[in-house]
Amino acid sequence: MSADGIQLLETKNLTKRFGGLVAVENLSLSIRRGEIRGIIGPNGSGKTTLMNLISGLYRATAGAIYLEAQRIDGLTPNVRTARGIIRTFQVPKVFRNMTVLENMLVPALSDSQGDRYKRHPEIVREAQALLQFVQLAHMENRLAQTLSGGQNQLLQIARGFMVQPLKLYLMDEPFAGVNPQIKSVIMESIKAMNREKGITFVIVSHEMPSVRRLCDRVSVIHEGRCIAEGTLEEVAHIPAVIEAYIGG
């Protein structure tokens, strides 16, 4: 089913339990190569847990994850990064005592990139170009801890783009708590990277207008299960979805 090469990422009956609590239950998703997929759902429905499962920070209790038809759910996060998966965190995680530029260099110098670290000057130029693109270039030598929340969000997003090859970008609430100007920078970079580099995105977001503008399709997660899938307009009319949002 995934051998046709169209599906980039598939999860099969993915389940994650924390003691008695089932955070993700029997979740099966198929993400097409080049797609921008939205993940929406009420608070506590399991969206971040899903991101953690795909990126490898959590081990699934049951089920499987495939990237390009190869099973990846036994791999550690750094090896998944080597396979082309990168992520951001709901609460931005930057390296606070490193400069903005140094933050950008970490993924490019990391084990996941083989001997790319040997081309240090080239990596620095790539990082500077990306910082320019997200309008953080003037801050490259500032410590990350001096950045605002929105700038932290920009930085962690830009940092992820340093990985090569980058196939799948998982973003957890990239628009939460950022001002409209930064929001549009983030939107533009997602669109550009998708169009020009063919990067596939899975974006968890509560921001319906942004989701509408960006995402081809959305998956609605409720109590750990996927209860609907389609365009935002389609799912918005499904009674189960409306109920999940009102009830949850």
Binding site: S55, G56, L57, T76, P77, N78, T81, A82, I86, R87, F89, K93, V94, F95, R96, N97, M98, E102, L105, V106, P107, L109, S110, D111, S112, Q113, Y117, R159, G160, V163
Partner: protein
Amino acid sequence: MAGRHIIFLAAVYAFLAPIPLWLGEYFIHVVNVSLYYVIMAASWNLIAGYTGQFSLAHHAFAAMGGYTSALLVIHSGLPILLGIPVGGLLAGAVGFFLGTLCLKMRAIYLGLATWAFAESFRITLSMGYRLTRGDLGLSTPTLLATGQALHYYYIFLLLAVVGLYSMYRIVSSRIGYYMRAIRDDEEAALSMGVDTVKWKRFVFVVSSFWAGIAGAFHGHYIGLLSPVAVDFNEMAILIIMVITGGLRTFAGPIIGAVFIELLSEFLREYGQIRMVLFAFMVIVLMRVNRDGMVGLGRRIWPALKAYVKR
């Protein structure tokens, strides 16, 4: 490239080599001990400062290197110059296991586990008196036939220059990025493709190795080893040195080790009260200036320059 580095190191060595010519025998001894602490503090800074793994077993690794080398030399007739590296390697190997044990531990738990390890080691040294001579202490063959501190100075200096250089190479390479990233946010480092397990182990091994080397050499210099070296006070002194000089700066532990060793020598007549003074100093430093003397210097320097220009 490598040639240039060797010339630089030789120049540093040549520059520092004449220092004892102005000093008396006892003071040269004090300088030697400070060089021992320089290696200890700098290698602890790798694991605790740069990587954020606040290990409290560094002094135990030094003693491990010391006892390993001494016992091998005494019982198997191994030359001291081989015993010292074997001591370092064994400390490094044990560092690997302790590091592995602590992989999943965070801050306080890692501190507790490594402290418990050091305590167990100290007690083992005391109890295994048939081999170690316990609290009586083990008299150790000295490296040189002469007891003159001056001769040891040249070896200590060589060891310190080589040790610091190798540590500098690590922190200024990509591994330095990994270490700092791990300290700031281990999950993020892992998700950005850093093999955090591998590199945390690596730093544990390297830092224990240097502690073992320093401890072994120190043992063959002083001529006596005892479980007192694994007393928590020894670890506390290292912490004080690194924090006073500047945690997570390269020069910090070097400056801090020399400064505290000299200061504690000047205040020798006050005995244990010195520890209270040092502890107080650390608390004040943590309040006003977390980067220690190096941070202070960095702040004062621009102001000074501006003042001079005016």
